[in-house]
């Protein structure tokens, strides 16, 4: 028997966007004496009844240190309040480094090689050291001077604690939302995920159907791969010209630096050029010698055996990075999909009974590489709209939300800057150098001039393994490697990278650890029993005929591995919910070319660690 609950507002996902929404809304619900200012319709006389459901088993699930101007956070909290958040510190210095390839293993085009040769010839006159050259200045659009280095996990945890102690909203972790509930095209709430089912979703003896939560307003902030956001996208499509075709996986670790790391708190390093030109890296230093380090592997990096974990290790061991990381200890690790289409990936923001905020709504700025600040701001904007409508006694219709929330968003700095950034990365679709020039030109001209590029769906870009590795590994050897890996039940990437000249990673048991050790040391993989598999393969015959199976090589947690019948095997207990499989598939969905052959649905568990 499926139970139901009536509330006023239900939120999906607890991240910076919903944090901003609930913080702003809760402050307006009662006055200083506790008298109701915004009255509930389901419990007359009481304040609005507001619930938030979060998939992860804790609200501090975020997987990234972040550097941000934090403009919207500063508007919500005083400096003294922000200083209470552990791992927060002001930005003290910024550097951008171009990393050369000390091993000759990366795949560099003739243009990149020419650039490398020029740098090498002039290295005596350039700020060159340890196979890297420091840019003489940080481009203005990347600068975060005056900003903060902080941890999203700690931010979420701190915000959640403030909210819960207010007693005005309830945030419930460990409770995935399965789907939106519709009445025609109106969203009337959400359905929580079923429990007591097996991997295929078949009910068992302890079956507990997910509760239906009916609400006048459903606030969707479940991120770039959230199931509710995806279902809304599938139902309503995207505004004309918009799409979500560019993605990246951010794989990150929190490390404790050695005492002689040579970096002060607040230091920010951005890198590009290595391990592959398309892979960007970062190192942000928190107080107490803690640092967030990681890489971004974008969807326009066309390696069909793209493994973020191995590339992360090669990035860490680059001489210029290693001089800071040598002697460090991994404290936490994780990965997260980033929606990289930015403003062009903006979804339908509002409809009758629902509004979308944060990254999944297309708020990330792809020029400045900033997302948390923007996500928080969109949450605040929606809260201000809700307050206005509630005070006026107006319903949460599409028109009313358009006139309040969308209008606020359109007139804000989030929109202005997103417009400038909209075409900043188009050039990367056509190649690394073109993208680099493009982002520079967009930044310098504030979006007036852009280098064009054609956005292709991920599955349209991914070459075959023979195409990609053909110039380095003979076809017979590729066949042999494939056969051996299938027989051993392992992914291809290590064998292919070893064979194509990448040096072995010597594990040190401290920072350089096996991927499975990172999974265990990095935080917490939680997969309570009784939930269905949230990663499924739509057309298994397509998988059986797929020679790339990028989902296996790209899987951050090694949760997808070769299956005995040719269909990849998914292990829910290892999944860290990064969502990379959703777009790391070389085959289109049977009925929708904008989607892939992998479904990523609501599921419990996933990695989380509050120091992330």
């Amino acid at each position: 028997m499926r139970s139901t609950l009536d509330t006023d507002i239900v939120c999906v996902g607890f991240g910076p966007a919903v944090g901003g929404f609930l913080t702003t809304l809760s402050r307006a619900m009662v006055d200083a004496d506790g008298n109701t200012l915004l009255e509930s319709r389901v419990m007359p006389g009481l304040p609005l009844q507001v619930l938030c459901y979060e998939r992860a088993d804790d609200i501090s699930f975020g997987v990234s240190g972040v550097v941000s101007k934090a403009r919207s956070l500063r508007e919500s909290f005083s400096a003294a309040q922000l200083s209470e958040i552990p791992m927060t510190t002001p930005v003290s210095q910024e550097q951008v480094l171009y990393l050369l390839d000390p091993f000759g293993a990366s795949r560099r085009t003739s243009g990149v090689r020419a650039m490398d040769a020029v740098i090498d010839a002039l290295k005596g006159a350039l700020p060159w050291s340890d196979h890297a050259v420091q840019l003489p200045w940080t481009p203005p659009f990347l600068q975060k001077h005056g900003g903060m280095v902080f941890s999203i996990g700690q931010l979420n945890q701190w915000v959640g604690a403030q909210l819960m102690s207010s007693g005005l909203v309830q945030v419930w972790p460990g409770m995935p939302v399965n789907e939106p509930l519709f009445d025609g095209d109106k969203v009337i709430g959400v359905r929580l995920v079923d429990q007591g089912v097996d991997g295929s979703g078949t009910p068992g003896a302890a079956h507990m159907p997910g509760m239906d939560v009916h609400a006048a307003l459903t606030v969707v902030g479940d991120g770039p791969v959230g199931p509710v956001g995806q279902k809304l996208n599938q139902r309503f499509g995207f505004p004309a010209g918009n799409h979500q075709r560019e993605w990246a996986i951010g794989m990150k670790a929190v490390v404790e630096l050695a005492p002689d790391a040579g970096l002060e708190a607040g230091a920010v390093l951005h890198t590009f050029g290595y391990p592959e030109p398309e892979i960007f890296g970062f190192l942000y230093v928190h107080p107490d010698r803690m640092a967030s380090v990681g890489i971004f592997v974008p969807s326009w990096f066309d390696n069909p055996a793209r493994t973020a974990y191995r590339y992360l290790q090669h990035w860490m061991t680059h001489p210029r990075v290693w001089k800071h990381l040598k002697g460090s200890t991994m404290r936490s690790w994780g990965a997260k999909t980033l929606q990289e289409s930015g403003r062009r990936g903006e979804s339908v923001l509002v409809g009758d009974g629902f509004a979308r905020i944060g990254e999944g709504s297309g708020s990330t700025n792809v020029l400045t590489g900033s997302g948390v600040d923007e996500a928080w701001a969109t949450g605040v904007q929606l809260a201000e709209a809700v307050i206005e409508l509630a005070k006026a006694g107006k319903p949460f219709t599409k028109d009313n939300l358009d006139a309040t929330y969308v209008a606020r968003r359109r007139s804000s700095w989030v929109e202005r800057e997103a417009r400038i950034a909209e075409k900043a990365r188009d050039g990367f679709s056509e190649g690394f150098l073109r993208g680099l020039i493009g982002i520079g030109i967009t930044g310098m001209t504030r979006g007036f001039i852009n280098v064009p590029g054609r956005a292709r769906r991920p599955h349209e870009r991914i070459p075959s393994i023979e195409q990609y590795f053909g110039d380095r590994i003979p076809a017979d050897d590729i066949r042999k490697i494939r056969r051996q890996c299938r027989a051993a039940g392992t992914s291809l990437h290590d064998a292919l990278m070893d064979r194509s000249g990448w040096p072995k990673i010597e594990l040190d048991g401290s920072l350089l650890v096996s991927q499975q050790d990172a999974l265990l040391m990095g935080g917490k993989v939680q997969a309570a029993g009784g939930f269905a598999d949230h990663v499924t393969f739509v057309d298994t015959a397509t998988c059986q005929g797929c020679a790339e199976q990028v989902c296996i090589d790209g899987c951050s947690g090694q949760a997808i591995m070769p299956g005995p019948d040719g269909v990849p095997r998914f292990d829910r207990e290892k999944c860290i919910h990064c969502g990379v499989c959703l777009w790391n598939c070389s085959k289109p969905h049977v009925s929708d070319p904008e989607r892939s052959n992998v479904e990523f649905s609501a599921g419990s568990g996933g990695l989380h660690s509050p120091i992330n």
Partner: protein, 269 residues
């Protein structure tokens, strides 16, 4: 049994067992590095006790369950966001350190005081539940000490099963040496039961139970009594972790015998 039991579960948080814990000596004594940032879970043994209490409440009409937790208030609040969805209970919070570097006598005194102050508690119907050990400090004496302070003479340690007869008598399966069980028949409460693993699986998260529990959780946190655990006469000269070596290999469906053989061979090496 027409009136049911009054089950008081003593249980608090411990750092997530998968975290790398690093003892440090601070100005206020020993602690764990980044202690407030470490993810916390309900102590696994206490969690078993809570699930058993929830089962008892579901099967014996009239039974009420209290969860008495001693820990930093902010961390308790965070913990409750997930625990509250598991089992219906009324919450009593004590704001104090749960670092593990505390004296169990002081902890037991604080717990007993808090239990004595529960207004609706009928001591003649009391079942005192807790873990037989703790993931943060394996002294394994706290439930006994609380029981003594509350004057409970019938105490059972390392319990795996509790059954209630129609007449209200209790049959308790208690672990003893040599892999054997001691079966005890008890006329009824009050008694203290320190649970080993029990038999109950972790209940699913139920949002309705969470909302029900939240009615007592927030008020309990707001009026949580601050207790200083100063451990007079106790000096921690030093703390360190045993040297450990990780060699992770995640496997599934491997027979127990094979696993045991592999471990044995590894030890022999």
């Amino acid at each position: 049994m027409s009136t049911g039991f009054h089950v008081v579960v003593c249980g608090s948080l411990v750092p997530d067992l998968l975290q790398t814990l690093e003892p440090v000596q601070g100005p206020a004594g020993p602690g764990l590095r980044n202690e407030l940032m470490l993810p916390s879970v309900l102590d696994p043994w206490a969690a078993h006790a809570l699930y058993e209490a929830g089962h008892l409440a579901a099967t014996v009409p009239g039974t009420r369950v209290w969860l008495v937790s001693l820990g930093p208030k902010a961390k308790l609040q965070q913990l409750m966001m997930s625990i509250a969805q598991k089992v219906p209970f009324e919450f009593v919070a004590i704001d104090a350190s749960a670092s593990g570097f505390t004296d169990p006598v002081e902890v037991a005194a604080a717990l007993a005081d808090a239990i004595e102050m529960i207004p609706a508690l009928d001591r003649s119907r009391l079942l005192l539940f807790g873990g037989c050990a703790s993931a943060s400090r394996d002294a394994g004496v706290t439930v006994q000490l609380v029981g003594e302070r509350l004057g409970i003479a019938d105490q059972f340690l390392a319990v795996d099963e509790l059954t209630v007869s129609a007449q209200g008598t209790l049959t308790i399966l208690e672990r003893v040496e040599g892999g054997k069980y001691l079966v005890s028949e008890v006329a009824g409460p009050p008694c203290a039961i320190a649970w080993a693993t029990g038999n109950r699986p972790e209940p699913p998260n139920n949002p309705q139970i969470g909302m029900l529990n939240m009615r007592t959780i927030m008020p309990a946190l707001q009026k949580a009594r601050l207790v200083q655990l100063s451990a007079p006469g106790t000096t921690f000269h030093g703390v360190e972790l045993p040297k450990q070596e990780r060699r992770t290999r995640i496997v599934k469906d491997v027979p127990i015998e094979e696993m045991a053989m592999e471990i044995a061979n590894w030890i022999k090496e």
